[in-house]
Symmetry: C2
């Protein structure tokens, strides 16, 4: 079993390299990259003081990173500072880029993100994928990937890897979609159906959404529970800055937590699962509406107009979320619950009942519930950034590939 | 926030020491200790080959550990082996010992465990602590600790630390009992009430029980959910060989997961919590029995005799456990659920309904449910061993103290 992503925070390396001089060098290269990435532009002296190595040691590491095209020198720092002016270092805006892709129930999307976190190319195709065979969908996705890669290459970037977000459970091989009920895909190995030559990572959309929140969110804590919804309800657990994956890679399945043990039957085989009360289709049904495209926009619009049925349906969904989250909060004691994906857009109408339920059921200090700023952009951003983070986490690997 | 325990598996250091030569030396001392502890007696050459260092490097580390009294040489190995006979190394049976203590609702217990894991002294006092003030209880516990320490000292051991298991929530300072409802203790700082001079760690009994399971259980996986019951229901989550603590140190609270959202009111402020269906008192009530001492033995005895009311009450408790565990298994995707504490003794009558509920509600591969061999001994063993593990995890700290 391998951890497919380098999801660790800089201060807690996710993958332990061996305790040798060589391992130490690799880890120190990563510390330089993360420091410049988080705080740059910085002089060599500033990097040295921040990571607690000598200036000479840092210079050797920096030279190696410049040779690999991962760092660049911006030229002498402005005069007026104390001491001899050093050349400021910045993460390269050329060189490796992360290619993120998303297979949604209603769309496909691809984007290229450079090492500085800038989105440099993007392509989207709307249209339902529900019930379509994997082959044609992945052929379309491949075309979008090729278009985005070509655009990125014109800007001096090269793709360091491809990460694909899917609305389903992914095996720990980080390639195989075990079950994506809303696509009706079962045991599909994406590795054989996507462009060869690019290192590939496939993961659940909720996992990528939570990583985006961790990396890009506004003061996201290092221990949180991420809850999102598209058609289904997704969850992801981040502990000490790392995504909890579980034995089979299935951790975070919040949608099938029993809310009412004798409630309506669920496609999963259980009864009264959260998805039966707070999934998009359940909410639409409860509001007397017909599922279609742009469901979330429609719900948010009607709720904003004060549509009683929609508001009541969202209130009840919030209550169900509160019951399911009580169990999760009791079990994990996270610093916050973050509502992402479609739940972010619907938060104004979900939060009151959700928070009330959570507060009255948890004896301990109340757990903060916050709303993601990234919303439904989270999974695609998380996918592209996961490739970028892998480069920052082990820059030596790029040098070896180059 | 500090992690009060060195709960890590040898291969994944829980506390990251800095990436310096000095940090590397400390980690390598720990690797030698863990290797000899797990596989000894071993020659220096065997240790070197197992941890991938040169024989000279290992000899330096071993000499330091012998000087600190943590390793001992057993004399030349038996002839008949290939090569020049080396002296076999073993973990010392003298030197530091872990002192574990347990504050139960109905008893106090203390034991001393040497670095080899042998229980070398033990003292127990029966009698209820429910509703007693912390002062007198801790005075009695101190007397037991002193008796056990004196006995250990007569055998050439010295106490490296004291770890106390309590039936309640403990703050992340690893000293303060925030809430122990079945003792009726609130915000009690045990640090001021226990013998000074001994490094102290206080933790929830379910946490220590799960660590005992991890360290001493029969092929316990590295990802599991531990569920135990005394008066309340305790839970603990172990991920990748490490105990998940949560933001406030309260993770693992399975007893207040809502099983039936509109069920009976619970002391926690919620409704229909698991404890209302599967806690010892709930089971006794459902079986028409009066709570008293030796409740678990009585339940097990009557169930074994085929008492219909008791069997039905345990069957229903198993169902409630199955519902609550479905949510937890969906969220964490553990390799196994381990029933510990009193649940181990009652497992034959809980398991059928528990497993049925779990199987019908979880869509993924069924999660194994196993029964702890340690049963209600778990928390005390886990406490004493946590001190021993801290010595193995950072033997240099002992040398510095000595």
């Amino acid at each position: 079993m391998t951890a497919p992503l380098h999801e660790a925070h800089p201060s807690s390396p996710g993958r332990r390299l061996p305790d040798t001089q060589q391992g130490m060098r690799r880890r120190n290269l990563a510390r330089v990259m993360h420091t410049v990435s988080a705080e740059g532009p910085l002089s060599r002296a500033a990097v040295a003081s921040r990571i607690g190595l000598t200036r000479a040691a840092v210079s050797t590491l920096v030279d190696e990173l410049i040779r690999s095209g991962l760092l660049e020198e911006l030229g002498p720092e402005r005069p007026g500072r104390v001491g001899r002016p050093g050349s400021a270092l910045a993460v390269s805006g050329r060189g490796p880029a992360g290619i993120g892709a998303e297979i949604g129930v209603d769309h496909l999307a691809v984007s290229a993100v450079d090492l500085r976190g800038g989105v440099r190319a993007r392509a989207v195709r709307h249209g339902t994928n529900r019930g379509r065979a994997p082959g044609p969908v992945l052929t379309e996705l491949t075309a979008l990937v090729e278009r985005v890669v070509a655009e990125a290459e014109r800007e001096g970037l090269w793709p360091a890897g491809l990460a694909v977000a899917v609305p389903g459970l992914v095996a720990r091989d980080a390639r195989t979609v075990v079950r994506a009920p809303n696509l009706d895909w079962h045991h599909v190995d994406l590795g054989t159906l996507l462009p060869a030559g690019l290192p590939l990572t496939v993961d659940n959309e909720a996992n990528f959404g939570s990583l985006a929140e961790l990396w890009l969110g506004d003061s996201t804590p290092r221990d949180f529970l991420h809850v999102s919804a598209e058609i289904g309800i997704g969850g992801a657990v981040v502990v000490d800055g790392r995504l909890l994956r579980g034995t089979h890679g299935f951790a975070g399945e919040l949608g099938h937590v029993p809310v009412r043990p004798e409630g309506p039957e669920c496609a999963c085989g259980g009864r009264g699962c959260l998805e039966q009360y707070a999934g998009e289709e359940a909410v639409l049904r409860a509001a007397g509406l017909t599922p279609g495209e742009d469901r979330v926009d429609m719900l948010a619009e009607r709720a904003a107009q004060g549509d009683k049925d929609v508001c009541r349906a969202l209130h009840d969904a919030g209550t169900a979320l509160g019951v399911a989250l009580t169990g999760a909060v009791n079990l994990l004691d996270p610093e916050a619950v973050v509502l992402g994906g479609a739940l972010a857009a619907l938060a104004p109408w979900l939060l009151p009942s959700l928070e009330r339920e959570l507060a009255r059921r948890t004896a301990g200090p109340p757990c903060a519930v916050t709303v993601s700023r990234l919303g439904s952009e989270g999974p695609l951003l998380g996918a592209a950034h996961s490739v970028v983070r892998a480069v920052l986490d082990d820059p030596a690997a790029i040098a070896e590939r180059g």
